[in-house]
């Protein structure tokens, strides 16, 4: 398991290659990349700033990954979550799950994202093209997505 929080960008392909290494028992790898959009429900966005509770974030994400490993037969998993200033097109989060078969890898990746959204200590504030800054409000749909597991 690899969990990192960082301000700098990540290279998804390099991370997958590193996780895979020389292993030949992995039959399925699912990669999810969350990206900063240029709009939020039609409002043009200039930037997104992610604040984190750094002392808690890695341990909390590790707990979420441990929970995923209890539920599905994962060979390995990786989560990288960025914080700081993001511009439209920038990567925000990377989730990689590796398993013998696709079902576990797909489901574990979806579970990890749903849980990260509602439990990992990060908060987004958005800045519109007009220069207005506001905190992003947590979505009920995210809570519902996490509750289905």
């Amino acid at each position: 398991m690899t969990v990192r929080i960082q301000t700098e960008d990540f290279d998804a392909a390099a991370e997958v290659a590193r996780l895979r290494g020389r292993r030949t028992d992995i039959g399925a790898i699912v990669t999810f990349t969350g990206i900063c959009r240029d709009n939020d429900d039609g409002r043009a966005l200039a930037a997104l700033t992610l604040e984190t509770y750094a002392d808690m974030a890695v341990a909390e994400i590790e707990r979420i990954v441990e929970e995923a490993k209890r539920r599905w037969p994962l060979h390995d998993a990786l989560v990288i979550h960025r914080y700081g200033l993001m511009r439209p097109g920038d990567d925000i989060v990377l989730v990689v799950t590796a398993s013998a078969h696709r079902e576990a890898a797909f489901r574990a990746a979806a579970f990890l994202m749903d849980y990260l959204k509602t439990r990992a200590p990060f908060w987004k504030s958005e800045e519109t093209s007009a220069g207005e800054r506001s905190w992003v409000t947590a979505k009920d749909s995210d809570d519902a997505a996490a509750a289905r597991w």
């Binding site: 509770y53 341990a59 909390e60 979550h81 925000i92 959204k117 509602t118 200590p121 908060w123």
Partner: protein, 85 residues
């Protein structure tokens, strides 16, 4: 018994500081008690905690419910619902 308090996102902005240390009064047992105590410290705290049940807490860097015990805590954090991912 002193405890470090940390605030994040709009909770931090409303209170006006990212962290502080306070002496925990003997009648503060739970997270909910601590919130009630903080609300006696000034308007900024009343503002931050104005809607009961919105602000989340972590005790020693783990998510904690309103009834969680804070008497032995070293660090309690308060923050809005998370919006990462």
């Amino acid at each position: 018994m002193t405890v470090k308090l940390k605030y994040f996102a709009w909770v931090r902005e409303r209170i006006g500081t990212p962290e502080e240390e306070i002496v925990l009064p003997p009648d503060v047992v739970t997270v909910a008690d601590l919130i009630q105590h903080l609300k006696t410290r000034g308007e900024e705290y009343v503002y931050a905690f104005e809607n009961d049940g919105i602000v989340r807490a972590a005790v020693d860097q783990r998510h904690a419910a309103a009834g969680a015990d804070v008497r032995a805590a070293r660090e309690v954090a308060f923050f809005p619902p998370m919006t990462g991912g």
